[in-house]
């Protein structure tokens, strides 16, 4: 008998047979573990946070020393850092008047994040905050937004249990995601944020193909409003600035995919990458709420 067959026969003896593990129960267990860890009192994990903070500080200092030598270290020369590439439509002449968002002093994202904007829903005093990073061209985000978010809104946000914040994370491989976010943010300035976000996700397959999210937005907004939205997208830096603020949060939370949910509870930010179904999110939130 050759080695191949002989070894296969030996290894077959340890085959688990007909045993079929229960993935649903296992996944629920995983979510409960996640919830339990998120809810663990800070005093029980003070040493973890102390260690993490000390390590982060050491790394930050090392990075600073390495990346900021006394001489200009830019291999391309001492030029200002290049600006992000402009979105396809956004190529306007400078606005005639300074825009309020662009003129605002650059504060750290974490300090600006608490300011209430059109991207935020629900009670500011809700015990839990759910922040969702999405990319308008991401199909998983569309699914999450059309399936999970409405139930989250109905059961938790409108009942005062959860504050909800939508954040933009246009991925570089999606050429129209940033433009779509600009349309949503421009509409948000005029009070139509939720309507336009829903429309963009609903018609994602159309405008991802023709590259014109504005056309889909136009189909649901009154003409006069749409005219203002287009003007804002074209001339106003605020819709882009809103994206940039969210991108600062992307870096702070170390998000690297969409959708990503961040649950803020008891002063802790729990980053949960990937699309999460409502039943699982519900069990997670209920668990946190029961610990009040």
């Amino acid at each position: 008998m050759d080695d191949n067959r002989w070894v296969d026969d030996r290894l077959a003896s340890v085959d688990p047979g007909d045993w079929k593990p229960d993935s649903s129960a296992a996944f629920s267990g995983l979510m409960q573990r996640n919830a339990a860890q998120a809810a663990q009192p800070a005093r029980n994990r003070w040493w973890v946070w102390a260690t993490v903070s000390a390590t982060a500080a050491a790394v930050a200092i090392a990075m600073l020393l390495l990346s900021a030598p006394p001489a200009c270290a830019n291999p391309l020369g001492c030029k200002p850092a290049s600006q992000p590439a402009p979105a396809p439509v956004a190529d306007p002449a400078p606005p005639s008047a300074p825009a309020p968002v662009a003129a605002a002093p650059a504060a750290p994202a974490s300090t600006q994040a608490h300011k209430r904007t059109f991207k935020e829903s629900g009670s500011p005093t809700a015990p839990i905050t759910c922040e969702v990073y999405t990319d308008y061209q991401c199909p998983h985000c569309a699914k999450f937004y059309t399936e999970t978010v409405p139930q989250l809104m109905a059961d938790y946000v409108k009942t005062g249990k959860v504050r909800f914040i939508h954040r933009d994370f246009p991925l570089p491989q999606h050429p129209y995601a940033r433009l779509a976010a600009q349309y949503a943010n421009a509409a948000g300035q005029l009070g139509y944020y939720d309507t336009v976000v829903a429309q963009l996700f609903r018609t994602q397959g159309i405008w991802s193909g023709d590259g014109d999210p504005g056309l889909q937005v136009e189909s649901i907004l009154p003409p006069a409003v749409m005219e203002k939205v287009r003007a804002l997208v074209k001339n106003d830096p605020a819709p882009k600035a809103s994206i940039d603020l969210d991108m600062e949060m992307v870096r702070e939370d170390q998000v690297n995919q969409t959708p990503t949910l961040v649950i803020v509870w008891n002063g802790r930010r729990q980053v949960m990458p990937g699309s999460i179904s409502f039943p699982l999110l519900k069990s997670f939130l209920d668990d946190l709420l029961s610990r009040k």
Binding site: M1, D3, N4, W6, V7, D8, D9, R10, L11, A12, S13, V14, D15, P16, G17, W19, K20, P21, S23, S24, A26, F27, G29, L30, R33, N34, C138, P139, H140, C141, L171, P172, Q173, R251, Q254, V255, N256, Q257, T258, P259, V271, P273, G274, S275, I276, S277, L280
Partner: protein, 172 residues
């Protein structure tokens, strides 16, 4: 910062891979309950490691799972108890058959624990049904060399088995 292509649906990924991962670990450690614990631990690590998520997540997960199983096996602390608690042989074997079957499983696992880690991982994952491409991805190998490496691992397994237990039983 690494930007992953599109999104990683963790929940869907979990349900697709959980059973297979748990069975891979069960093959190594023997105890089904412990296998489920370790499988959950492997997914927990994946959940907490965003950089491992994406296209290569399956390979990362199989590699992690089989290594966790082998580490558990090598620790050997609770293995005897596991054997006593689980894996009843199919049907209604005689006490002699049951003893022989349990002994063979014990011997196979003992040999796996003695092999070089990569060889043990290859044999376990191959026996669990992974293709050559999946093996290459999971163990970070050149796909063209997987066949050769499996063959060497099989030779090493048989050599060690015969060395430990002689040619009696099935060691012809």
């Amino acid at each position: 910062m690494e930007i992953q292509a599109d999104s990683f649906d963790f929940e869907a990924f979990f349900h697709v891979h959980y059973e297979r991962i748990a069975r891979v670990i069960a093959r190594v450690v023997g105890d089904h309950g412990r296998a489920e614990d370790l499988a959950a631990e492997a997914f927990w690590k994946l959940w907490r490691t965003p950089r491992a998520q994406g296209e290569s997540a399956a390979g990362w997960l199989y590699r992690t799972a089989v290594r966790m199983g082998l580490n558990e096996l090598r620790s050997g602390q609770r293995r005897s108890r596991y054997e006593a608690l689980s894996e009843p042989p199919p049907g209604t074997p005689t006490p002699e058959e049951a003893h022989a079957s349990a002994e063979e499983r014990e011997q196979v696992r003992r040999i796996l624990a003695m092999l070089r880690p990569q060889q043990a991982e290859l044999l376990i994952l191959r026996a669990s049904g992974l293709s050559y491409d999946e093996l290459a991805s999971a163990l970070d190998l050149n796909a063209a060399s997987v066949g050769t490496l499996i063959s060497r691992a099989q030779q090493a397994f048989r050599k060690e088995y015969v060395k430990q237990y002689g040619t009696r039983q099935n060691g012809r």
